[in-house]
């Protein structure tokens, strides 16, 4: 075990490619024993890939790693665990129908299971590090925060030398985050090195000893005094124009023009209500309440943004509004007609367009052609005699959309999957925006994982739609983008709207409080 302060993990010029995409390029960093090292970057920057390489899930194509001074080349998670490297994953890997004890025993026990003795050991360990867990509870009964604690205990039981936490704060509240950081402090104090992966710098600035910032698979900034240099680091992370070198220019945000006091917003006050949501409630498949009395309205030409920590009901709200999920009380109206629990077909006919959070799951059929995907939802309108499809008309419409929305593809018949992420999203947006009789556009995380050009295009089209009188509901975890585009902001916490304000009068402190569940 190296002395505190000695290099524990050294990553040297590591590179990784997936087909044509360079996920990582010449990444170097080091973590010392007892150090908390923050790994920062936006979605798609390569953080998860790097963690997976450290944990052995993937193997690097270039470069090398050293652990405790010796070459480190894990062939898989089992190998990494044996070397003393443990990882708390972003998407929890617990078996839902087993108890906490059983989940902790998985992979650790041999032969007969000694559940009671193990449970006692678990309780001792959790007290040592300040992690409250209930050994006998079944995992699917636990809250998200509790499940994460179980995952952490699972790692700590192996007394690792290096602990990697992949986006642990993404689903936690500010108070829970404090608890997590205290745990990190204690673990680091015991001599373990920690890699803390996140895209929210503000939350960990006080804990991390050193920080590395990734952007498009490359290291763009590093710091040994993160709390002092935080501005430089924020810019490095968020600046979309910067390539490899660090340029201290002010935050550009060119993609979104700062028209927060648009004439639309003021005029919208007087215009009709398109979407009226009244005490909307819903439960998930396990019976857990996800929406708890949501109330708000969206008017013609208005852009309303929904902000909040992910996992507070935003996804469920979009699911209910798009007809993919049922609500169990309350309801919503579109243009005065009740639309609660009506099937997607009825919603589309009523003029509701949806750009879903995960377009591959419900927004498109990747194996079908671009043209077919552009016509998804209105294929019946191309019907000829005998139930045949008017291909000529379908193709012509597709080509027109490609031009209007600048969707770059080989041709209209190319498989949808062959388009880049940005063009796919443009296509989905194009389809929804050209819905005949469009009254309401619901868009969830529309710019996630996209590059500058695509982001700019998406928001241009959304703003154009609003100007044309479409009511827009925008759910996004990119708070700064919301601030720049939306006329009004709603903050969701635990399935209800905690607070509302216009973008112009947004007070970050107040909004932060709402996000944490404190009514202002």
């Amino acid at each position: 075990m190296p002395e505190a302060g000695e290099a524990l993990l050294e990553i040297e010029h590591v590179g990784k490619r997936f087909a044509a995409l360079a996920a990582l390029d010449d990444v170097s960093l080091s973590v010392a024993a007892g150090e908390i090292h923050g790994l920062l970057g936006e979605n798609g920057a390569g953080k998860s890939t790097l963690c997976n390489i450290v944990f052995g899930v993937h193997q690097a194509d270039a470069g090398a790693m050293r652990l405790g001074g010796l070459p480190y080349l894990p062939t898989g998670p089992a190998d990494a665990l044996r070397c003393g490297v443990a990882m708390v994953h972003q998407h929890f890997s617990l078996v839902p129908d087993l108890s906490v004890v059983d989940n902790l025993l998985l992979g650790q026990a041999r032969g007969l299971l000694r559940r009671r003795a193990f449970a006692a050991k678990v309780v001792r360990l959790s007290e040592e590090f300040g992690l409250a867990v209930r050994p006998e509870a079944r995992v699917h009964d636990l809250s998200v925060g509790e499940r994460q604690r179980v995952e952490i205990v699972k790692c700590l039981m192996r007394r690792p030398r290096l602990l990697v936490l992949d986006e642990p704060t993404a689903v936690l509240l500010p108070a829970e985050i404090d608890g997590l950081l205290q745990v990190c402090d204690r673990v680091a104090a015991s001599g373990c090195g920690i890699v803390l992966v996140t895209h929210k710098l503000a939350e960990i600035r006080r804990t991390a000893h050193r920080v590395t910032v990734l952007r498009f698979g490359r290291v763009v900034a590093q710091s040994s005094a993160p709390s002092v240099e935080i501005d430089r680091l924020v810019r490095a992370m968020v600046d979309r124009d910067i390539s490899a070198a660090v340029r201290p220019t002010p935050v550009p945000h060119d993609a979104i023009s700062a028209t927060s006091h648009s004439p639309n917003a003021l005029a919208a006050q007087a215009s009709e209500v398109v979407l009226r949501v009244t005490r909307l409630g819903s439960r998930d498949a396990d019976g857990v309440r996800r929406l708890d009395g949501v109330d708000f309205q969206v008017r013609r030409g208005e852009i309303v943004g929904i902000a909040g920590v992910e996992g507070n009901g935003q996804s469920e709200l979009v699911a209910v509004l798009s007809g993919m999920s049922e609500s169990d009380h309350g309801g919503f109206e579109v243009g005065g007609e009740t639309m609660t629990n009506r099937p997607p077909k009825v919603l589309t006919a009523a003029g509701v367009g949806v750009v879903p959070e995960d377009r591959h799951r419900e927004g498109c059929v990747p194996a079908m052609s671009l043209a077919h995907n552009l016509a998804l939802g209105r294929l019946a309108s191309y019907r000829k005699r005998f139930g045949l499809v008017d291909r000529a008309a379908l193709m012509a419409d597709a080509r027109r959309r490609m031009q209007e929305f600048d969707i770059r593809a080989g041709h209209a018949e190319s498989p949808f999957a062959s388009l880049s992420g940005g063009n796919q999203q443009k296509a989905v947006l194009a389809r929804e925006l050209t819905l005949p009789g469009l009254r309401l556009l619901v868009a969830a995380q529309p710019t996630r994982g996209l590059d500058v050009g695509a982001v700019e295009a998406i928001y241009t089209h959304i703003r154009a739609a609003a100007r044309a009188g479409v009511a827009v509901l925008l759910s996004s975890s990119e708070f700064d983008e919301l601030l720049a585009v939306a006329d009004r902001l709603l903050v969701m916490y635990r399935g209800r709207v905690m607070g509302e304000c216009t973008a112009g009068t947004a007070d970050r402190a107040r909004i932060g409080a709402w996000m944490a569940g404190h009514a202002a």
């Binding site: 997607p344 419900e362 939802g377 294929l379 499809v389």
Partner: protein, 358 residues
């Protein structure tokens, strides 16, 4: 699903010819090797095979009849498979079709119908019956989420035993028992309910089912490639969530797809009864459902593939029987070849997708 995985799917959707042809060739070579291994002179075996498969107008006709039945089952299979539904109940659906057809021909008054209706109506009944039987699996999938492989398999066993039971009892379909040696089968169906030969005069038992098959093949091709229903099948099969969001009638599509699969198999049963066998026997389906399934798998979604595979297995079967009779090669060799084809296809389909990825 990442873009890479979707690309995989896109390429797998277009059937590569190399794969099915390669699998068949390898399997056939193994079969030939096996013949040599057991000491049967290859020329004798091949001569016997050729004689049985296409040696006379009669054998050609018989082989083609078989191919027609297999192709019908295969066509139904690929329509359902388009929506990612796997119908393994062909055997049972054939049985249901055969029962419906027999019942109508003998006791349902079909013989009293004028002209071609005498044999068309029972065929229609066989089609509807087979479709309804298979639609049960579709309804179960939609309502309860039951895996259609399991449900069609169970329904198939039930139907086959229903057939067995129906020819055991004179109150059902069994012929009147004159003595204790009377076989458990139905009476022979009246001449006017039998499907007429395709070409009169030739000593070839090929029945008009061949013409019907060709017409249906064209219809299915158009259906899959150019119709709205075909697009819906594809969308539902590839991404049911997106299909739902797009407002497609998912439940109807699934049930209809299963209905079509069973209907085609039921029609095959009708042709088998009214075109070849003329009486319902206990072992009526005689493995055609399984063969049809293999045809469907081998075709990898293409109508031309179904026709080609059906021809292959139709002739393979006849040739195999003849090899057993004349050249002392057990006809089970055909089963070995079929099994190898299925396994080679299944194993290498993944390899194809993987090779495409890189």
């Amino acid at each position: 699903m990442t873009a890479v995985a979707s690309l995989r799917l896109a390429f797998a959707g277009r059937p590569a010819l190399l794969l099915p042809i390669g699998s068949v060739v390898v399997a056939l070579l193994c079969g030939l090797g096996l013949i040599v291994a057991v000491g049967v002179p290859l020329q004798d075996a091949i001569a016997a095979f050729a004689d049985g498969a296409w040696g006379s107008a009669y054998s050609v006709g018989a082989s083609l009849n078989r191919a027609v039945a297999l192709a019908l089952v295969g066509l139904g299979f690929i329509v359902a498979h388009r929506a990612n539904l796997t119908n393994v109940g062909g055997e049972g659906q054939i049985a249901i079709g055969g029962m419906a057809s027999t019942a109508l021909c003998l006791y349902g008054g079909a013989a009293t119908l004028p002209g071609p209706l005498a044999w068309i109506v029972p065929l229609g009944a066989a089609t509807l019956a087979g479709g309804a039987w298979s639609a049960i699996a579709g309804v179960l999938k939609v309502r309860v989420g039951t895996n259609e492989v399991i449900s069609t398999l169970l329904l198939s066993f039930i139907a086959v035993w229903m057939l067995y039971g129906s020819v055991q009892s004179t109150s059902l379909l069994r012929q009147p028992m004159t003595n204790s040696a009377t076989l458990p089968e139905s009476l022979e169906i009246p001449a006017n309910t039998q499907v007429p030969a395709l070409i009169d005069g030739l000593d070839m038992p090929l029945h008009s089912g061949a013409a019907v098959l060709l017409a249906l093949a064209i219809i299915v091709t158009v259906l899959l490639q150019r119709s709205l229903f075909g697009l819906r099948l594809r969308a539902v099969g590839l991404n049911p969530m997106a299909a739902r969001r797009a407002g497609m009638p998912i439940a109807t599509t699934i049930v209809l797809a299963m209905f079509i699969a069973g209907a085609f198999a039921g029609l095959a049963g009708g042709f088998m009864l009214q075109g070849e066998q003329f009486a319902l026997k206990a072992r009526f389906p005689s493995g055609y459902g399984l063969d049809g399934l293999v045809v469907g798998l081998l075709a990898r979604g293409s109508v031309k593939g179904v026709l080609a595979s059906a021809l292959l297995f139709g002739f393979l079967r006849s040739g195999g029987i003849s090899m057993e009779l004349s050249a002392n090669v057990p006809s089970a060799i055909v089963l070995i070849i079929q099994g190898l084809v299925v396994l080679l296809l299944a194993g290498s389909a993944w390899w194809l997708e993987r090779a495409v990825r890189h």
